[in-house]
Amino acid sequence: MFQQNKKGESSMKIGTGIRRLLLASAMVIVGALSSAASITYEVTLDTGGLIGHVAGPFWLNLQLTDGGGTASNSAFFSDFGFSAGGAEAGTASAIGGASGDMSGNVSLTDSSFLNAFSQQFTAGDVLSFKFTLTTNADLVPDQLSFALLDSTGFEVPTTGLGAIGSDALFIIDIGSTPSIQTFAPDSSRSPWGGGDPIDFSVKISAVPPGGSDLPEPATVTLFACGLLLVGVGRLARKK
C-alpha cells in the first residue's frame, strides 16, 4: 500500500479538528462501501506460456471506464499471488482514479472517464488475485476490463478482438448482475512484441457471499480511509 502509507503520513500533520472530521468522513465512506452491493471474484491466470517469451516483459492492465456518468463504481484488488519465479516489477502506472501496487492492493474508482492501472510483472506459472466490485447500474454501464500488455504496451492477442474490438482477457459490464465475458488467447496471432502466439489461460469466478475469500472489512476500511486522507492532505497542502 505504497501510496496509501505515503498519504497517511501526510495526514499526521493536520490539526485535531480536521482529524475528527476525517474520522467522521471515513466512517461515512466505510459505511457506504459496506452497505453498497458488491461481488468478489477470484482470478487465476496460467502464465507459464509467458515465461521467457520474446514479447516480454509483460504488464497487467486494468481498466475501469465510466459509462453513463450517473452511477459510481469501484474495484478493489488484493491478494496478488505469483508462483515461483514470478513477481511484480517496476513502478505501477495509474491514470484517473487508479492507485496502488501489485505488491499490495490496487484500487480503481470511476472518478474519471478512463481509470487505468498497469504494472509490469515477471511471469511465473500462475498469477492470481482477487477483486471486489461494486454493482451500481447505469444506462450505459461502467466497464471493468483486464488485459495483458507486452513490451510494446499493446495487448497480447485474444479472441476478444473479433467479439468486442479489443484484445481484453475479460470484460465486465457492471450492473446489479454484472455481465462477464472471457476471451481465450488468439493462437493465430503473434504478439506485437514478436515471437510465437502465446498460450495461456485465464479463469474468473465469483466468490460466494460470506465465503472466506471475501476481503477483510478492516482492509477495506483502511483503504477507504487512506484514499480520503490522501485527498484531504492534498487539500491541506494547497492551503
Binding site: 471506464t65 444506462l139 450505459v140 454501464p141 466497464q143 495487448e155 474490438g165 484484445d167 481484453a168 470484460i171
Partner: protein, 775 residues
C-alpha cells in the same frame, strides 16, 4: 402469342376443323379412335351418368343425352344462357347419390343483367329435367368480360362439389382472398359452405368457399375418384400452360407467376407439376431462349384413367389424361412422379376428356362453330366389330355439281368399305367417302348406302338420299366493312351484304345468316353466334379482353336460296396498332404489361383502344439494392390501366432506392461499457441487438447512431443515413448470420470503435434499421 381465354379448345374448332384432317391422328399401336357421338353443336364439357348415359353440354344452353347409341333429339333441358365468348352452358356433374336423389349439377352463364356464372342443381326425371327444380348454389358476376370464364365442376370423393372460376380478365383478383375470381371453390352439395374449407375461419361470407387460388382460367380440372388427387388445368397468358396439383389453400401464383417462371421468387407459390410453352418462338423467361416441345395454346382435360374394365393397356391405369386445343394432342401424366408421356396427336382440338363406364377414353371436340359439327370420340384398344358412328347424310346438289357421301365407322382395323347405289355395289367405291363428280338429273332420288367390314363382321349404313336439282346456288357480296378496314377497341364494327340468286333474284334478309369469330394467333374464339334475318349487323369491340396484337375478327356470311342451296363468304377485319414501351429509371427494373414482371425496356405492340395494365413492381431488388416505385411518367399509380393510344407511346417508371424499415419496436438495443484498445488508442463499445418479438426480423440489419456526440469520430461506420429520417446519422452493419435474419429471441452484437476528444464516452440514440433498402 397466347390465347386469352380458357377453352380455346371449343372455339378453335372453327379454324381447325377445316385444317386438320380427321385421319391425321396418331395413337399408340393397337389403340384406335372412333366417332362416338356426332351432330353436336358447340359441345363443351361432358360427364357420364352413373347409369351409363353420356350428358354433353352444348354451349348454347342445351344439355344433350347420348344413350343406347343415339343422341336424343330432345335435350335434357335447354337453359337460357349468355353464350358469347366463353360463356354458356359449360359443365355437368352428378350427385354422388344420384341413383337415389336424381340430382344433376351444371355450370352455366345465366342470361341476366349483369351476366352471372351460376352453379345450379336440377332434378332429373328420366331423360328430362323436372320443371322448376333448379336450386341455385353459387353465382358470380362476370360482367367484366366474356373471357377467362373457367367453368368446371366435379365432385370429390369427400362428397364436396369443386368449382373452377376464372379471373374474368381482372388478373390481380386471383391473388386476393376477398373475391371468388381465379379460384377453386368447394361447397356442400346443398350449397352451404364446408366448415373445413381452408379459409373458413379467416374469411367471411361467400369468400369462405375459397379452396385454392392464384389461378387464371382453370377451364377444366378433375379429381381421381379413388384417392382424391386433383389436377387443375390452368390456361396461361403469353407463355405457359399449366397442370397444377390441387391442394387445399394452395396459391398457384397467377398473376405474379406463370408456368414455372416465378420472377419474384415467392416461396408461397405452388408451381405447376407440368407446363409447356406456346410455340417454338416463345421465349422461356427462365433461360431467355425458346424451349422444347410440346407446344400448345390452351390446356384442357382431364381425366384420371380409372376403370375395372380398362379398354386401354394397364400401363395407363391411374394416369391423368390431358390435352391441348391448338396442339391437338393428348398426353398422360403419372400422378406418382409427375412424368408426362405422349399418347395421341392429330386429335382435332379436344375440349374435354372423360373415362366411360365401359373403360374406354372419350373426348369431346368442337370441330367448328356450325350446327351439328361437334363430336365425341371414343378411344380404345382395337378389337371391336365394325360400327357406324356417323351415318351418311342426305345430299342436295345442283345438277353438274359434285355430290359426296361420307361415313365414319369404328371397329378393329382394317376396315373396308363398299358403297352401294339402290342396293347394288358400285365398282371402285371402296373408301369412307364416295363422290359423284357430276350428277345428272337422272341421279335425282338415288339411294346410297355403304357396307363396312372387318375381320370380325360387317355393318350397313343407313340409306342416304341424293337430290339433284336444276336450282343454282346463290352468290353474296359483303359490302361493309370494306376490305382493308381497320378496327380499334371500344368502337362498333358494322357489316352488311347483298345476295342474289339466279332463280330467286335478290335474296331477302331471311336468307342471311351471320356469325363473327375472333381470331387469335392460330386459334379462334367464338364471338357472335350464328344469327339470321338481317342483311346488316354490328358488333362492339371490347376494350378489355385480349391484350395481344395478333388478333382479328372474321365476319362470316352464309346465304341460302329457296331451293336450299347455300353460299358462304367472309370478311377479315384487322386491328389498328401502336407500340407501347415501358422504361424504368434506373434502367432494367421489373415492370409488367399484362405479363409476369419482366426487366425493362418492355415493348409491346398493342391494339389501339385496348385497355392495358401497367405495373411497376414495388418494392423490388436488383443486384442487392431494393427499389421502390416513385411515379410513372403519366402521373398514375404503380399499377394502373391505360387505353392504348393511337400513336407509339413510352411510359417510364421512376424508382428510388427503398429505405429499410425502423425496427426499434421489435429489436432491443443494449449498450455495453467502453474500453480503450491499447493498440489503437481507440475506445470500443459493444452493442447487443436482440429480436424481442415472435417474428423474424429480415436482414440486413443496421444500427444508426442518431445525435452522436459532437466531436466523436466513428471508425468502423458503414455509412451515413440518407434514406430514412433522420438523415446524416452514421450507421454500422450488424452481422445477423448467413440466413440474413434475426430470428425471434436471437441476439447479434456490433462494436463501435471511436475517439471522442471532448468527452471520451459517446452518446447517441440507437436506431435499428432492417430489411433491404437504403439507410
Amino acid at each position: 402469342m397466347k390465347n386469352n381465354w380458357s377453352y380455346s379448345a371449343l372455339c378453335a374448332a372453327v379454324l381447325l376443323a377445316s385444317t386438320l384432317p380427321l385421319s391425321s391422328q396418331v395413337l399408340p399401336t393397337g389403340i384406335v379412335r372412333s366417332d362416338y357421338v356426332t351432330g353436336l353443336t358447340r359441345p363443351v364439357q361432358m360427364a357420364f351418368a352413373p347409369d351409363g348415359r353420356l350428358f354433353i353440354c352444348e354451349q348454347d344452353g342445351r344439355l344433350r343425352i347420348f344413350k343406347d347409341g343415339l343422341l336424343l333429339a330432345e335435350p335434357f333441358m335447354t337453359l337460357d344462357v349468355t353464350n358469347n365468348n366463353e360463356r354458356g352452358l359449360l359443365s355437368v356433374a352428378f350427385d354422388p347419390d344420384f341413383a337415389t336423389n336424381q340430382y344433376i349439377y351444371v355450370f352455366y352463364t345465366a342470361q341476366t343483367t349483369p351476366p352471372l356464372n351460376r352453379v345450379s342443381r336440377f332434378t332429373a326425371a328420366g331423360d328430362f329435367v323436372v320443371p322448376g327444380s333448379e336450386k341455385i348454389l353459387v353465382e358470380v358476376d362476370v360482367s367484366r368480360a366474356g373471357f377467362h370464364n373457367a367453368g368446371a365442376i366435379h365432385f370429390g370423393p369427400d362428397g364436396k362439389l369443386y368449382i373452377s372460376i376464372g379471373d374474368n380478365t381482372a388478373a390481380a383478383r386471383a391473388q386476393e382472398l376477398t373475391n371468388l375470381y381465379g379460384k377453386i371453390l368447394r361447397i356442400n352439395s346443398d350449397g352451404t359452405i364446408p366448415t373445413d374449407n381452408p379459409f373458413y375461419s379467416t374469411n367471411t361470407g361467400l369468400n369462405r368457399l375459397i379452396w385454392a387460388y392464384g389461378l387464371r382460367n382453370p377451364f377444366t380440372f378433375n379429381i381421381d375418384p379413388t384417392n382424391g388427387t386433383m389436377f387443375i388445368n390452368d390456361v396461361g397468358e403469353n407463355t405457359f400452360e399449366e397442370v397444377n396439383r390441387g391442394a387445399a389453400g394452395a396459391n398457384y401464383g397467377w398473376n405474379a407467376s406463370e408456368g414455372p417462371y416465378n420472377p419474384t421468387g415467392n416461396p408461397a407459390f405452388t408451381m405447376p407439376v407440368f407446363s409447356y410453352l406456346h410455340n417454338a418462338t416463345v421465349i422461356d423467361p427462365r433461360t431467355g431462349n425458346p424451349g422444347p416441345p410440346p407446344y400448345g395454346c390452351s390446356v384442357i382435360g382431364g381425366a384420371f384413367f380409372q376403370s375395372t374394365t380398362p379398354k386401354l393397356p394397364n400401363q395407363y391405369v391411374g394416369r391423368y389424361f390431358f390435352g391441348d386445343v391448338c396442339g391437338g394432342w393428348i398426353k398422360t401424366l403419372d400422378p406418382t412422379n409427375n412424368s408426362v408421356e405422349d399418347f395421341g396427336s392429330g386429335l382435332n382440338d379436344p375440349s374435354d376428356i372423360d373415362v366411360g363406364p365401359d373403360g374406354a377414353l372419350y373426348y369431346s371436340a368442337r370441330l367448328g362453330e356450325g350446327v351439328g359439327s361437334g363430336k365425341v370420340f371414343r378411344i380404345a384398344e382395337a378389337g371391336d366389330r365394325p360400327a357406324v358412328t356417323v351415318q351418311p347424310a342426305d345430299v342436295r346438289v345442283t345438277v353438274g355439281h359434285s355430290a359426296s357421301f361420307s361415313v365414319t365407322a369404328s371397329g378393329t382395323a382394317p376396315l373396308s368399305y363398299q358403297w352401294r347405289r339402290n342396293g347394288t355395289p358400285i365398282s371402285g367405291a371402296t373408301s369412307a367417302t364416295y363422290t359423284i363428280p357430276s350428277p345428272a338429273m337422272a341421279d335425282n332420288g338415288a339411294i346410297f348406302s355403304v357396307v363396312i367390314s372387318n375381320s370380325l363382321d360387317n355393318v350397313t349404313s343407313r340409306d342416304a338420299l341424293l337430290t339433284v336439282t336444276e336450282n343454282q346456288a346463290p352468290t353474296a357480296t359483303i359490302l361493309t366493312p370494306a376490305a382493308g378496314t381497320l378496327y380499334q377497341a371500344s368502337t362498333t364494327v358494322t357489316y352488311s351484304a347483298s345476295a342474289t340468286d339466279s332463280e330467286d333474284g335478290e335474296l331477302p334478309a331471311s336468307a342471311f345468316t351471320w356469325s363473327v369469330v375472333f381470331h387469335h394467333d392460330t386459334h379462334t374464339h367464338p364471338f357472335q353466334p350464328e344469327h339470321s334475318g338481317s342483311t346488316t349487323g354490328s358488333f362492339f369491340v371490347p376494350p378489355n379482353d385480349h391484350t395481344e396484337d395478333n388478333v382479328w375478327y372474321r365476319v362470316h356470311l352464309t346465304v341460302k336460296d329457296s331451293g336450299g342451296l347455300t353460299y358462304s363468304t367472309y370478311r377479315d377485319v384487322f386491328p389498328r396498332k401502336s407500340t407501347i414501351t415501358l422504361n424504368t429509371v434506373p434502367p432494367g427494373l421489373l415492370v409488367s404489361l399484362n405479363t409476369p414482371p419482366l426487366a425493362a425496356p418492355l415493348t409491346s405492340p398493342s391494339v389501339v383502344g385496348v385497355i392495358r395494365t401497367l405495373d411497376a413492381v414495388t418494392p423490388q431488388t436488383k443486384e442487392g439494392v431494393s427499389y421502390e416505385f416513385v411515379s410513372w411518367s403519366d402521373g398514375r399509380p404503380a399499377n394502373h390501366t391505360i387505353v392504348t393510344p393511337a400513336t407509339n407511346t413510352t411510359y417510364t417508371a421512376t424508382f428510388r432506392v427503398a429505405c429499410g424499415s425502423n425496427a426499434n419496436s421489435r429489436v432491443s438495443v443494449a449498450q455495453g461499457g467502453y474500453r480503450l484498445n491499447m493498440a489503437t488508442q481507440r475506445y470500443v463499445q459493444v452493442v447487443t441487438l436482440r429480436n424481442m418479438t415472435g417474428a423474424p426480423v429480415q436482414g440486413p440489419v443496421s444500427l444508426a447512431l442518431d445525435g452522436l456526440s459532437t466531436n466523436a469520430s466513428l471508425f468502423n461506420m458503414t455509412g451515413v443515413t440518407s434514406c430514412s429520417a433522420p438523415s446524416g446519422s452514421p450507421f454500422v452493419s450488424v452481422n445477423v448470420g448467413p440466413d440474413n435474419i434475426l430470428s425471434p429471441g436471437e441476439a447479434a452484437t456490433v462494436f463501435l470503435e471511436y475517439v471522442n476528444p471532448t468527452n471520451q464516452g459517446i452518446t447517441y440514440i440507437p436506431r435499428v434499421v432492417s430489411g433491404a433498402g437504403g439507410r
